[in-house]
Amino acid sequence: MVKKQVPEWLNSSLWSSSTSSSSPLLPPPPSDTDDHGGDDDRLPPLSSKPAPSMHSYATSPSYGSSTVVSDSRTKPPIPVSPPAIVREEPPKREVKDVRRDDDNGTSPNLSSGPSPEEISRQAQLLAELSRKVINIGELRKLAAQGIPDGAGIRSTVWKLLLGYLPSDRSLWASEMAKKRSQYRHFKEDLLMNPSEITRRLDKSSGLENDEAKGEGKGLLSRSEISDGEHPLSLRKASIWNQFFQDTEIMEQIDRDVKRTHPDMNFFSGDSPFAKSNQDALRNILIVFAKLNPGIRYVQGMNEILAPLYFMFRNDPDEDNASSAEADTFFCFVEVLSGFRDHFCQQLDNSVVGIRSTITRLSQLLKEHDEELWRHLEITTKVNPQFYAFRWITLLLTQEFNFADSLHIWDALLSDPEGPLETLLRVCCAMLILIRRRLLAGDFTANLKLLQNYPPTNISHLLYVANKLHVHPSGQSL
């Protein structure tokens, strides 16, 4: 009776996320559950009263509810019924993933080779991409299911989804050339230090020649400076003054770039490759900060930039990989355009700011799972700002490992309504997936759990998020 609001299929152990690596959560044939050795200590208390089940969350959430015991008998039909509700592919994939789940439940597709669905999806994507004029709507739908890592097409698909590349293939070369040269000009204009600027100005006004004549001896001639431009100038419009005011931001950017993904050789380490990647990240962020005096640079932008740059730099096409910096810049601007207001402190409390977005997430959770919402917000008083702030502003890059966040970004970027909608749904799904543990936990436990989100099967997460879209409030009561 307690679980009325959440559908039974959601409660079934088939969908639960793994907790510790020790407990194999998802036995292939459901009927084995009752005979499972590890469950012995858990099952007896379950049948007597549901209360102790709440405290067994540490071991495994899926067995912590009394309904599971009854479900286990009806398990065989369950994998079959979901396909009737939604598309055939994702649940089939779920089952396959589930059975292959001997590692920690993170998407194992990379290690165990592409499944038939993946290969077919890959073929479909390649087919779509090779058309003369690409149907972006169709591409979005295909990408929403996830872009396979194998064929290296993700970077092209992302570029199309973000509008960097036009849908007409024949225009690609000219568009890219135009954008890349534009970025080069930005760099030249904005990344020059004042010494170089003065030198260029002098050269253009012909003052350069005087000292080159090489006199033997004598007093050096003094020349006038233009506009009072000297390094110690305190004038607002002085290039030197602006330069020194920017150094603070440059230092901030530099620090953050060095801290991006320290575990990945691509980004950190002493190799020249890592250094060049760091330089590229730094340049992009500096150019962005200078072009956008409104928001400049805020900590966290480096995290949003990292996956984009990684994908584009690892593009199998040589030409694209070498111009990754320029491409990433424009795509970064595009991605950030939907989320700019989250980074502006003044807008925090406004209708478009981060607080209102977090409230929207809260509302979404309330719609779909009122019991969990009540438990989190009212009973345990876990303010969504404590966990959702990082989820939303950094687009979930910090919650999952790098490969998983790329999959999530596939779903985010392919949403025709914009990444924010999908992001909120994914966050909601993240909460719903660990609902048992959250319902069992108090403030400290829940906060700890939410701030270190446990590893999950990403395709499952995206599937649940998608379901929230399809059935808006059909689940309640």
Binding site: N193, T198, R199, E211, E224, P231, L232, S233, L234, T247
Partner: protein
């Protein structure tokens, strides 16, 4: 793009109380990478003030300095340039180009920064360049009472140096600049 401040002959507190306020307002920490001080500060407080502007400070001993531990001469390398510092009271005649050129050859530097005359000068000769930043406080010298406060800021960028000369004339700060390049192969300036 390395900014190097060169100043000296402040004679605080004996002949002057402090730097002119207009100079002080311009000298803020965080902009300058090195400070070269020719000497005659004279007290520790001035040393500490300059250290607060920039931690990398090089001082040589002037005849009125109260700290006996400053060296007589000093050489350092900034970017592509070798810079030498000496107060200048040791070089007789004071302020004479040929004698200073001799010192420059002895120290084997491209730029020699000296003081003592309290007059700004920038000379060039085959061996290199001699810069005298003058007195930053406008203190009177052994030679003359008519001294304008002045100091020098060098912008060293590769093989090129832009010397910005800051002088306080009639209560107004006047800034001029001097440009010179060093040829990569030879040791001398052209």
């Amino acid at each position: 793009m390395v900014l190097v401040l060169a100043l000296g002959d402040l004679h605080i507190p004996h002949r002057a109380a402090d730097l002119p306020p207009k100079f002080k307002s311009m000298l803020v920490p965080g902009k300058i990478q090195h400070i070269i001080c020719t000497g005659n500060l004279c007290i520790k407080e001035v040393n500490d003030y300059m250290k607060s502007l920039c931690p990398d400070m090089h001082v040589t001993r002037g005849e009125y300095d109260e700290d006996p531990r400053y060296p007589e001469t000093k050489t350092l390398t900034i970017g592509q340039f070798k810079v030498g510092i000496c107060h200048g009271h040791q070089v007789i005649p004071w302020g004479d180009l040929d004698s200073l050129a001799m010192l420059q050859r002895q120290l084997d530097v491209d730029i020699l920064v000296t003081g003592h005359t309290h007059q700004f000068k920038a000379y060039k000769h085959e061996g290199g360049v001699v810069i005298n930043p003058g007195s930053a406080t406008g203190a009177y010298s052994s030679l003359t009472y008519d001294v304008n406060p002045s100091f020098v800021l060098m912008d060293i960028d590769g093989l090129r140096v832009v010397v910005y000369v800051y002088e306080l004339i009639d209560g107004e700060v006047k800034v001029d600049k001097i440009d010179f390049k060093k040829t990569a192969t030879t040791h001398s300036m052209h």
